[in-house]
Every structure is written in structure tokens, then in C-alpha cells.
């Protein structure tokens, strides 16, 4: 479910607005660390977690906005490189900052007292993220983003404030990445810079692409599949070689061959026509 929130965040900027970002992990880390530190230093009590998570998300969103100002002068691959660079900066920053544990990681973060509670809270946040992002997607703002996705020049000529909209979309996207990060921190109780590496971004990206860029329900379902699948594949026979490590990539590759637009393409679950 946390993966789903992360993927929703990325899907909004990459899927709807077609701005290829590889900085997810950076924003997730920002949200996670902010919320973790806040809980440990100020709030202490577990019932403040939602507030602290929202503050973490806001910090991440603000960072997203700041990053977007210089980086949206670039497009496509270059934008991807800049956002990736940002994620690395964030990671290295936390790695060398002793206050948050440096490479040892930050532990004894306030956690939900019960597992079920964390489950409910994450579910609520996921619902919130989904409703907001889906409504934005089908709103007038979403239409602007689709236009930017299709043809920036034409959108600009039609009077769409292209760079302003892109910055806002990036901010919204990093807000939800940060929110997911905070959830992650309070579920695990321990975070370290190592877990917010490039691999995390790639994971989130795979979910978005598999679910269909621009499909919010697609992201949710794909994250469920991609989280459950490696676990299910554990039941495959293991010998000297771990077969599941071969089967999983094969599934991904065949998915890309037979359905390159992702599970749902741009459509939502209920918009699919059953043939």
C-alpha cells in the first residue's frame, strides 16, 4: 500500500504530465526523515503520526517546488538526470548527517502501537491520495497537464501556463511521495539512507509503468501485484539458483512486450471496456 502511494505520486507527474522524473526516492526520503525526526523530537505520542506525516509531505512538496524551478528548463532525459541527481544529493546528505544517524540509519522511530492501526492509517492515506490525484486528473488542471503531455508548444499557444502547471504538478507529486515516505518510516520504525537509493525509484517507476502511465487505479493494482508476486514466487523450488529471480523479470519483460501501455493504459479500472 505504501508502494501504491509512492507510485501514485510519480504517476501524476510522469503519467499525466509526461515529465520523466527519477527523483522519487529523494522525496520519499525527505518525507520519511522529516516525519521521523519530528515524531522523535517534538510529538512523541503515536497519535500525532498523521500530522507529522502531513508535515513531512509538505516539506517534501516544498522541496519539489524548489527543485522544479530550475529543472523544468529541461525536458525529457535531461530532466530525469537532474531529478535523479537531486535524489542522490538527498541520500548523501542523510548519509553524512550524524544527527539522523548517518549510515547507521535512524532508529527507534515512533511506530503505530498496533499493526492493524498502521494498516488502517495507510489505507486511509492511500484513499486520500487516490481521491485527490484522480480528481485532479479529470479536472480542468488535469486537462492542462494532458495537453502539456501531448504537445507543449500547442498548449502554450492555447494560453496554458505550461511551466507554472508543470511546477505545480511536480509539487503535488513530491507531496505524495513524501507522504508515502513518512508512512514507510512509521511502519518500519527504522530508516537508513541505503533504502532510499536509486533502486527504490526504479521500483516505483516499474509500478507506474506496469499499471499504465496516467492510470491511478492501474498504479494501485500494479503495486499490489508487484509487491505480492515476489512473495508468491517464493514457493517455486529453490536450488543453487533462485528460480524466482528469473521468473519475475521474465514476467515483467513479457508484460512490456504484450501490453506496452501498461495494464490499463491511461484509463481507470471502471473505464475499461470488456470486449
Amino acid at each position: 500500500m505504501i508502494n501504491a502511494v509512492m507510485a501514485l505520486g510519480l504517476n501524476f507527474i510522469t503519467g499525466v504530465a509526461n515529465q520523466f522524473s527519477l527523483g522519487s526516492a529523494g522525496f520519499i526520503a525527505l518525507g520519511a526523515y522529516t516525519s521521523a525526526v519530528l515524531m522523535k523530537e517534538c510529538f512523541h505520542q503515536w497519535y500525532f503520526i498523521p500530522i507529522s506525516a502531513l508535515i513531512g509531505a509538505t516539506v517534501s512538496g516544498a522541496a519539489g517546488y524548489l527543485v522544479s524551478i530550475p529543472s523544468f528548463r529541461l525536458k525529457g532525459d535531461y530532466l530525469a538526470i537532474v531529478t535523479m541527481g537531486f535524489a542522490e544529493i538527498v541520500r548523501v546528505l542523510f548519509l553524512n548527517w550524524d544527527f539522523v544517524g548517518g549510515a547507521r540509519g535512524y532508529n527507534a522511530i515512533v511506530r503505530w502501537p498496533q499493526f492493524s492501526l498502521s494498516y488502517i492509517a495507510t489505507g486511509l492515506f492511500l484513499t486520500l491520495a487516490f481521491i485527490i490525484l484522480y480528481h485532479l486528473k479529470i479536472s480542468a488542471f488535469g486537462r492542462n497537464l494532458w495537453a502539456i503531455n501531448e504537445d507543449e508548444i500547442a498548449a502554450e499557444v492555447m494560453g496554458t501556463p505550461v511551466s507554472k502547471n508543470k511546477r505545480t504538478a511536480f509539487m503535488i507529486s513530491s507531496f505524495f511521495s513524501g507522504l508515502a515516505g513518512a508512512m514507510y518510516a512509521h511502519n518500519l520504525g527504522y530508516i537508513s539512507p541505503g533504502s532510499f537509493g536509486f533502486l527504490m525509484t526504479v521500483n516505483v517507476l516499474i509500478i507506474s509503468v506496469l499499471g499504465g502511465l496516467g492510470s491511478m487505479t492501474g498504479s494501485i493494482i500494479a503495486s499490489a501485484i508487484l509487491t505480492a508476486l515476489p512473495e508468491l514466487l517464493r514457493s517455486l523450488p529453490t536450488g543453487d539458483t533462485d528460480i524466482r529471480m528469473i521468473v519475475f523479470p521474465i514476467l515483467l519483460v513479457s508484460m512490456m512486450i504484450f501490453r506496452p501501455q501498461g495494464l490499463f493504459g491511461r484509463k481507470e479500472f471502471w473505464e475499461l471496456k470488456i470486449k
Binding site: 481521491i131 492542462n144 501531448e150 508548444i153 502554450e156 499557444v157
Partner: protein, 262 residues
């Protein structure tokens, strides 16, 4: 009495590296006029268009639109000022529906209300409803409403051109700039286009600036013609005089002696 000048272009200059794409071009567009801008390939017509619509900024010179200087504005601000344009190669949002294409253009006049967007309040739904009916009405005028739920890319070439013009109209411009609208059209389609342009000019109270290659088309429709060659203005007159203008003929066909030698 001199007519009201809606667009004034003064001493425009632009070079790309060592090439002077536009050099010292000045002309005016009068209110409610249909002005044609013609010239041989590479004469700088599209460059002038791109400067007007804000994609290039000129090295020097200024553009006054209804008396205000717009030469430093960005494309979206220029659109808000009241200039809409179409493209030589059609640029529709091809994966969006016909209706969305128009709605997108129409909605730029209103501000995005975040709270309403996220919570889909009643007033927001009302706003979307109005936007939809207004767009449909506009499409209906041009007999495109039957395609409203189709993807823009599924339309035929002629309809795509038409839709692009409708989309430009949806931004409620005072000046409409058409970049080679007749490109790639056959005779019937060109005739339809001619009717369309005259129709919108009359019914939407517009000034139209037209770039075109098709001489017959330009001569039959434009009230006045500006001719560019190698980045310079070489003529500015009514169509009859342009046809007989020695410099224009030379620009298009070459010098007489050169022609007879072959």
C-alpha cells in the same frame, strides 16, 4: 481616414547565427482585415509568425498589439492578450477527444480553483457543465459536434485543420493567425477552407493574418498582401497590384533574362 491598426510591427530583426532571417520588417494589420503574408520558401514568413506569437524573441524591433508592446511576452501571455494561431503542421492534442481539445482552449480564460477541483463541489461541476455545453455549441457551429467524443487523431485531415481553427477560436482571440492552412489540401477542401475563413471572420468579428503558399487561394481571399523575400519586405499592396508587381514576380520567378535563357 486611416483604419484602426490592431497590430503594428516595427523594424523587426532576427538573425540565426550569420543568417538574417528577418531584416527590418515593418507592417501593420488593420482591424477586421484579412491580410496575407506571402513569399518564396525561406522568405521568413513563419519566422515572423513565430516572433509575433512569442516563440522567438526578436533581436530588435517591436510589436504593438492594440497599442501595447507584446514583443517580450511569452506565448501563453500573448494568447491571453488576444492573439491565437494555428500551425503549419497540425498540432492537435491527438490523444484527447475533440471536445477536450476545445474545452482546453476555452478553460484558459478562467482560473483553476484548487479546492473545487479536488473536492468536486457543486459549483465546480456546474462550471465543467458550462464548459462542456459552450464547447459543444462552438463545435456545432462548425458541424464538428458529431465527433465530439472521438479522439482528435481519428479525424480526417480536413477536419483536423478545421478543429485546429476552432480550438484557436475557443480562446476568443481578436487576431487569428493562420500558418499555411491550405497546405496539403485538395481543391474542394481549399474552397471549403476559404468559406470557413470568411465565415469566421464575419461571425466572430476577427482580424485574420494568413500565411500561404497557394497563390490562387491568397489572391482570391485576402484584402491586402505583404510579400517577404529573404527576410525583407518587398511589397505591401492589394492583390491586383501584387500580381503585376515587378519585384514580386522577380522574387518568385527570377529575372526575365534568366527565365528566357532557359
Amino acid at each position: 481616414m486611416s483604419p484602426n491598426k490592431i497590430l503594428k510591427i516595427n523594424n523587426l530583426n532576427l538573425s540565426f547565427g550569420g543568417i538574417k532571417a528577418v531584416s527590418d520588417v515593418s507592417f501593420d494589420v488593420h482591424e477586421n482585415e484579412l491580410l496575407g503574408l506571402i513569399g518564396p520558401n525561406g522568405a521568413g514568413k513563419t519566422t515572423v509568425f513565430n516572433i509575433i506569437s512569442g516563440f522567438y524573441s526578436a533581436d530588435s524591433g517591436e510589436i504593438l498589439f492594440s497599442g501595447t508592446n507584446i514583443s517580450k511576452l511569452k506565448p501563453d501571455a500573448i494568447n491571453k492578450a488576444g492573439i491565437a494561431r494555428t500551425f503549419q503542421n497540425i498540432r492537435l492534442f491527438s490523444q484527447l477527444t475533440v471536445l477536450d481539445n476545445v474545452q482546453l482552449a476555452l478553460q484558459q480564460k478562467t482560473k483553476i480553483r484548487w479546492f473545487d477541483c479536488i473536492f468536486r463541489t457543486r459549483s465546480y461541476l456546474q462550471y465543467e457543465q458550462n464548459l462542456k455545453s459552450e464547447s459543444l455549441e462552438l463545435l456545432k457551429i462548425f458541424n464538428l459536434d458529431q465527433f465530439s467524443t472521438d479522439l482528435a487523431s481519428s479525424l480526417s485531415y480536413g477536419f483536423q485543420r478545421k478543429l485546429e481553427i476552432v480550438r484557436a477560436l475557443a480562446t476568443k482571440p481578436k487576431l487569428l493567425i493562420l500558418d499555411e492552412p491550405a497546405a496539403g489540401m485538395n481543391q474542394t477542401e481549399t474552397d471549403d477552407l476559404k468559406k470557413l475563413i470568411l465565415f469566421i471572420k464575419k461571425n466572430f468579428n476577427l482580424t485574420v493574418l494568413l500565411i500561404e503558399h497557394d497563390m490562387k487561394f491568397v489572391m482570391s481571399i485576402c484584402e491586402r498582401i505583404v510579400v517577404l523575400n529573404r527576410g525583407q519586405k518587398i511589397a505591401d499592396n492589394i492583390p491586383e497590384n501584387i500580381k503585376n508587381d515587378a519585384t514580386v514576380i522577380e522574387a518568385y520567378l527570377g529575372k526575365r533574362s534568366y527565365v528566357t535563357n532557359h
